[in-house]
Subunit: 249 residues, 2 copies
């Protein structure tokens, strides 16, 4: 047969399962895993076995298995075999969205009030984290974000000037620091810390909440290669904001 499609019968062929062959193989295995057909750690059919079972080429079943592995559903070891992944590791991932994107996607109005936008000498601890000389100037912004007039986030941010020399020229009532910083930078990595804490006196005032109200505090450090780009402290009133996410294996 010259090609998989050229050789197909001219009839519409009641396809056993719709979709591309690699997807059918993948779906079959996924269903088996969901049904507990293979206990975690148990050996699963080899590529050769699946080739025989489905009558497809090895590349096709290989792709199905490769994707299942990238989804964390199976473990594969060269020379050994494919195994159902032990799902004991209940670590999962949560999606964090950009606040402004979140607000506008809800169809609500986003508004930003800029309280600080200037260069400042960096305190020692901060200078170390940003990787700049102690006492050298860094950019500092303090912005409060509103959703339909309600203060939702207090964003206290320091930026490494070497990474974004024009940062202070931006109009943060129109675009957000995130947009300004990352519109040109393509690849970066970030560290998060999420905790519950009381706001500082200033934060309570800016967010118009009681000083004792619990707040969700996200600290985000962003790096490009090894240079630190920015450190942000994002404070949200606990009564008005929750991080939500989904996880599907």
């Amino acid at each position: 047969m010259v090609s998989p499609h050229a050789g197909a019968a001219p009839l519409p062929l009641p396809s056993p399962t719709p979709g591309a062959p690699y997807a059918r193989v993948k779906q079959h295995l996924k269903a088996g895993l969901a049904a507990g057909r293979w206990v975690p750690g148990e050996r699963m059919p080899s590529e050769a076995a699946l080739v025989a079972e489905f009558g497809v080429s090895r590349m096709t079943v290989n792709r199905a298995l490769r994707e299942l592995r990238s989804e964390g559903l199976v473990l594969r070891t060269q020379g050994v075999g494919t195994f159902a992944a032990p799902l004991h590791k209940v670590s999962s991932t949560l999606t964090i969205r950009d606040l402004q994107e979140e607000i506008t996607s809800r169809g609500h109005q986003h508004q930003a009030v800029v309280h600080v936008q200037r260069a400042e000498p960096a305190p020692a601890a901060l200078a170390a984290q940003l990787g700049v000389a102690q006492g050298s100037e860094v950019f500092h912004t303090l912005i409060v974000h509103f959703e339909n007039g309600v203060p939702l986030q207090c964003e206290d941010r320091y930026v490494n000037p070497a990474c974004a020399p024009r940062y202070l020229q931006a109009d943060f009532t129109r675009s957000t620091p995130t947009q300004v910083l990352f519109e040109s930078t393509a690849l970066w990595r970030a560290q998060y810390s999420i905790e519950a804490a009381r706001p500082t006196a200033q934060e309570a005032r800016l967010l118009q909440i009681a000083p004792a109200e619990p707040c969700l505090v996200v600290v985000r450090r962003t790096f490009s290669h090894d240079a630190a780009i920015t450190i942000a402290r994002l404070v949200h009133p606990g009564s008005r904001y929750a991080l939500e996410g989904q996880f599907t294996p």
Copy 2:
């Protein structure tokens, strides 16, 4: 040439870049994106162009591009082309680990105290969320987890009996509810909500904290297919616990 390797020159050939060809193509594009060679939204080389440039087969560049898309770095549209992904979406993912795993991986001691472990008639709201008849019995556990003797998490959990009939027989001082529930279930999905809030009076007492201390509250609903397995409210003292995570594109 019969095979890519069979046809290779007998010389060791100073390989231009180490690694598999598809990985080289992928890495080349990734580096270009990191360097800003293509502005977000800009058109990138077609598969045919990359085939010519790297002297590899189309399947190979296709795999590289497919993986880049699954990593969210490029967008592809059939009949149109491949484009650098707009990085405006600064949504990122955060890893949530199982608390017990976290404690033991720190080399610390984990301890659990069980305060409630019984079947109860489900309140209306809960019955709806678990998808059981109102007033029917559900399993309820209330467990406090300690790290080296310090209370770190108050776990209030309801379980759908149909999904785990033997749940109440477990010894939760030895294994955790998570382990008991998911040692057999292979595929599931979960919804998270993370917020800052004050503890209830009972929670404050169990966690040995002041009633006004901010707490990090994680509510996790877990489903299998469409049946709800369990709903858990995990309360952590803000002063003792933070969720931490990394994000790399």
